[in-house]
């Protein structure tokens, strides 16, 4: 939650595109858990996800009376990397503040965050917008501690009691606030993807950790009040929540009613937002400087930070170094592990081939299986590329090999090498001539198509090639098959 933020309004003088309600104005507050080894203000381990509740706790993250916070410098360093990568102005001095409110997951009755003096302000991130490349301004970046986690027992309608797990309490969070520069739910999602990629390149974030990302979004239709949507915790969720909320607000306006300024919760399971009845819960957080921590001198610190290669730079390098297409470069660099996987494949001698197979084919198959790239054995995939390049496998057969390989990965079986899979299923490319009998068979059985071809209808040939491919299960090269087909048809059999 941020303190300073004006009403989301389009910049004066902007030409309204279409009717007013076509446009929507979105700004995000993104909270990401930094993947430091210990918590923000104590030495407890952050690797709590597979452990029982309240086992990664100490007096400090439990907020026991008398405990004190001590700064995890690594967390500051990580946040500064992000600030630098997002082109922000880093403050000379940043300062922690207390945000006071009661909630059972907040063991001290206040959250240590930053208020008047955040780490950084005024940066930007370029994304692919609805109308080409778009620069989204970053308002500010600050560090804060995560509260604990509540587990409600019973059903949502009849909660019986609530348990508190403080394992999460004190995990370092970075809050990144954007200006209201986003104009569609899709742009919001792209911004999130862009942030995720950047943070992963910086080595400060693990997007696969459950609950590592939480988003609050401010969304309004021009001329109407803005609504804050809280509780969004996934990339898909952002687009879903904002699309729902955009439609809801448009409907309210269409009915001649007013959009109320309020806070709404996104209910992920139902894909809707519900009113949090904000009026009566209007908070006064009574911020003041955290007296137990010293101000952080960050300007000099950030100057000494050397950033790794970031997504945009890597994209340019991939195109220059490997001669791959801009689209492939964008896809590959859009995810750190995908880019790294590709670079492992690139020495295969044919980087554009590797790019196609990693960015298009492999990505598609992974998405279908909801599988992570990290589970694919690189040596196996490189072998597959070798077989393709040596033309021992047709494209179609290679896909079949890949699928079997991935299925074995998913099933947790021993993964066979592409050569083994090829062997077992006799998927290896066979010289086209070996299929001459099949070609003849097809010509014999598809009299209509043959007549059409001879009558000059060229497309009939495609049908015949398809029939042969089907019967040879893709083991032959389609070009070669076409040649044999033409020869056989010319020979005038049947």
């Amino acid at each position: 939650m941020t303190a300073i933020r004006g009403q989301a309004q389009p910049a004066a003088g902007l030409k309204a595109s279409g009717t007013e309600s076509d446009t929507v104005i979105i700004g995000l507050e993104v909270h990401c858990q930094l993947n430091t080894e210990s918590k923000l203000f104590c030495g407890c381990s952050t690797d709590y996800r597979n452990d029982p509740p309240n086992t990664h706790v100490c007096p400090t993250c439990l907020g026991l009376p008398g405990s004190l916070p001590s700064m995890n410098r690594r967390a500051v360093e990580y946040a500064l990397r992000v600030a630098k990568a997002l082109n922000c102005q880093v403050a000379e001095e940043a300062e922690f503040a207390r945000k006071n409110y009661f909630y059972p997951d907040l063991p001290k009755g206040f959250q240590i965050t930053m208020y008047n003096l955040p780490l950084a302000e005024g940066g930007y991130l370029d994304i692919e917008g609805e109308e080409g490349e778009k620069r989204v301004r970053i308002t500010r970046i600050h560090l804060e501690e995560d509260p604990g986690r509540l587990v409600h027992m019973g059903t949502p309608d009849r909660p019986r009691y609530t348990l508190v797990d403080y394992n999460r309490s004190g995990i370092p969070l970075i809050e990144i606030v954007t200006e209201p520069d986003l104009r569609s739910p899709k742009e919001a999602r792209r911004l999130l993807n862009g942030l995720r990629t950047t943070l992963e390149y910086l080595g400060v974030f693990d997007g696969d950790r459950e609950g590592s990302l939480r988003v609050d979004a401010n969304i309004s239709i021009p001329g109407s009040e803005r609504v804050e949507v809280k509780n969004i915790s996934s990339y898909k969720g952002v687009e879903k929540a904002l699309t729902y909320e955009m439609t809801r607000q448009r409907n309210v306006i269409r009915r001649g009613q007013k959009v109320e300024r309020e806070t709404r919760h996104f209910v992920e399971a139902r894909g809707v937002t519900t009113s949090a009845r904000s009026k009566e819960q209007e908070h006064d957080y009574r911020y003041f400087t955290e007296p137990d921590l010293r101000p952080l001198q960050v300007r000099g610190w950030v100057e000494g930070i050397v950033l790794p290669e970031l997504p945009a730079a890597r994209r340019d390098r991939f195109m220059a170094q490997y001669g791959i297409s801009p689209d492939h470069a964008r896809t590959l660099c859009g995810e750190l592990r995908l880019a790294e996987f590709f670079e492992e494949m690139a020495p295969c001698g044919n980087p554009p081939l590797a790019a196609t197979w990693v960015a298009d084919t492999l990505q598609g198959e992974l998405n279908y299986r909801e599988m992570e790239i990290g589970k694919v054995p690189p040596a196996h995939f490189r072998e597959l590329l070798d077989l393709l390049q040596r033309r021992e496998l047709t494209d179609k057969a290679a896909v079949e090999v890949l699928r079997q390989m991935l299925d074995q990965c998913v099933a947790g079986e021993t993964v066979e090498t592409p050569a083994q899979i090829m062997e077992k299923n006799t998927l290896g490319k066979t010289a086209g001539d070996a299929f001459t009998p099949v070609v003849r068979e097809v010509i014999a059985e598809c009299g209509d198509a043959v007549r059409d071809y001879r009558a000059g209808k060229g497309e009939a040939l495609n049908f015949l090639v398809g029939q042969v491919m089907k019967r040879t299960r893709g083991r032959a090269d389609p070009k070669e098959l076409t040649r044999i087909l033409k020869e056989e048809l010319a020979r005038g059999g049947t």
Binding site: L62, P65, Y103, G109, F110, R294
Partner: protein
């Protein structure tokens, strides 16, 4: 109510009597050191004098507790105090008032009144107190012992249940300057867990030589509200220092006018935040879990916080509220800066400042019924906390049988010099 009275503790100096054994032989071997009940002791109830923490047993030792136990100290128990340190008489304890060993009908001063009473009565040779706005020096003065509020950042606060973090320090109390100095030496060891601490351990230098030392006498310390009999005792004490070769210099501290207000706004603001954690979820008596959270928290806090604590939480919450922050908290910080600058200016010219610790001697239990007159009693002690400078109270005679304290204040991190001047005075009057 007063737990101690039934356990051979007629002064109600202790909330909990518990023999916490030493961990090793050292400079405090064979010495009993009583510990104020807002300093965490592993396995021994730590209540801060509040009912809201009854039953709370910390799972860890405060840094200072570690240090004294490692040096061989035996802790005879946890001493009585004003609830969370909020008071100047130890009457605001949730466990009954402590009584002054010189006159059991009178207050010990506070908030570290139990520690002072334990030392003055001989129940413990030394004690740890904490000083947010005079809470070590006031009871030291009222009970006739020595108490030092160290420079801010010289003693780790890790394990001290916070009342007003930016003002308070743990400090030593003892019957004489040497003991007080020894305890200070032990507890000033660096602790990285307190980010506001500096690694500048106290190295005692008690040689009694104050020849040529320049001592400032701020007029404001002898002004309205200060009992002339107390003034008289303190002036005589300054005369003794002059007799030892010190030079006294009349001076002024104009920021004193705002010091008390700045102090109360700052400490109540910080307290309102610090005390938010006492919601019954983790310690103390349980709230009624059938009620909605906020209702349950509210009810539980209403019942178990004492009236002075509730008053200060309300004042502090108000002072930090949107729309009032600039008017109160913001202004208090400006005034605080003026106090710091006043000290810095004075300390360019003088080495120490001298004056009374308290404007009066110990009053009768129950005599100060309105909170404001109690707050006014802190006027001479709060400036040192606002500026973070070291200040000691050393006994300088009595008025009608009740002890008077001489307060000596020094430059930041010159606790050694402050203690040496106190030592010089003590040795001179003893002789």
């Amino acid at each position: 109510m007063a737990r101690g009275e039934t356990a051979g503790d007629p002064l109600n100096a202790f909330i909990t009597l518990a023999e916490i054994p030493p961990r090793g032989p050292g400079r405090l071997s064979g010495i009993t050191v009583a510990v104020k009940d807002n300093i965490s002791t592993r396995g021994v109830e730590t209540t801060c004098g509040s009912r809201i923490l009854s039953g709370y047993v910390p799972p860890y030792d405060a840094h200072v507790v570690d240090l004294i136990r490692n040096e061989g100290a035996l802790i005879p128990g946890k001493t009585n105090m004003d609830e969370f340190g909020m008071g100047s008489s130890t009457e605001n304890s949730g466990f009954g008032p402590a009584r002054n060993p010189r006159d059991p009908e009178r207050v010990t001063g506070g908030s570290s009144g139990g520690s002072a009473a334990a030392v003055a009565s001989g129940m413990a040779r030394m004690a740890l107190g904490s000083d947010t706005g005079g809470s070590i020096r006031c009871p030291a003065a009222f009970c006739g012992i020595v108490g030092l509020k160290p420079t801010y950042g010289r003693v780790s606060r890790y394990g001290l249940v916070a009342y007003a973090n930016s003002l308070e320090q743990i400090g030593p109390m003892a019957a004489n300057v040497s003991d007080c100095s020894l305890l200070m030496e032990v507890i000033s060891r660096y602790d990285p867990r307190d980010s506001t601490m500096k690694d500048r351990p106290y190295l005692p230098r008690l040689n009694g030589d104050i020849k040529g030392m320049r001592i400032g006498i701020p007029a404001e310390f002898f002004g309205k509200g200060v009992d002339p009999a107390v003034t008289d005792r303190v002036r005589k004490a300054i005369g003794v220092l002059e007799g030892l070769g010190a030079v006294s210099v009349e001076c002024a501290m104009p920021s004193m006018e705002y010091a008390l207000a700045a102090y109360y706004v700052t400490c109540t603001s910080e307290a309102s935040s610090n005390l938010a954690r006492f919601d019954g979820v983790r310690y103390g008596p349980s709230p009624d879990i059938r009620k909605p959270w906020h209702e349950a928290f509210q009810e539980m806090r209403m019942q178990h916080f004492g009236p002075e604590v509730r008053r200060r939480i309300l004042i502090g919450t108000f002072a930090l509220s949107a729309g009032y922050y600039g008017k109160y908290y913001g202004k208090a910080q400006v005034a605080r800066q003026h106090v710091r600058e006043d000290y810095a200016r004075l300390f360019r010219d003088v080495d120490l400042l001298a004056g009374p610790t308290m404007p009066t001697v110990a009053w009768k239990i129950g005599a100060k019924s309105d909170p404001l007159s109690m707050y006014l009693a802190d006027i001479l002690t709060v400036p040192a906390n606002l500026a973070g400078v070291p200040a000691v109270s050393v006994p300088c005679g009595s008025v009608e049988g009740l002890p008077v304290g001489l307060q000596l204040t020094g430059r930041p991190f010159e606790d050694e010099q402050v203690m040496n001047a106190a030592f010089a005075y003590e040795q001179a009057v003893k002789a």
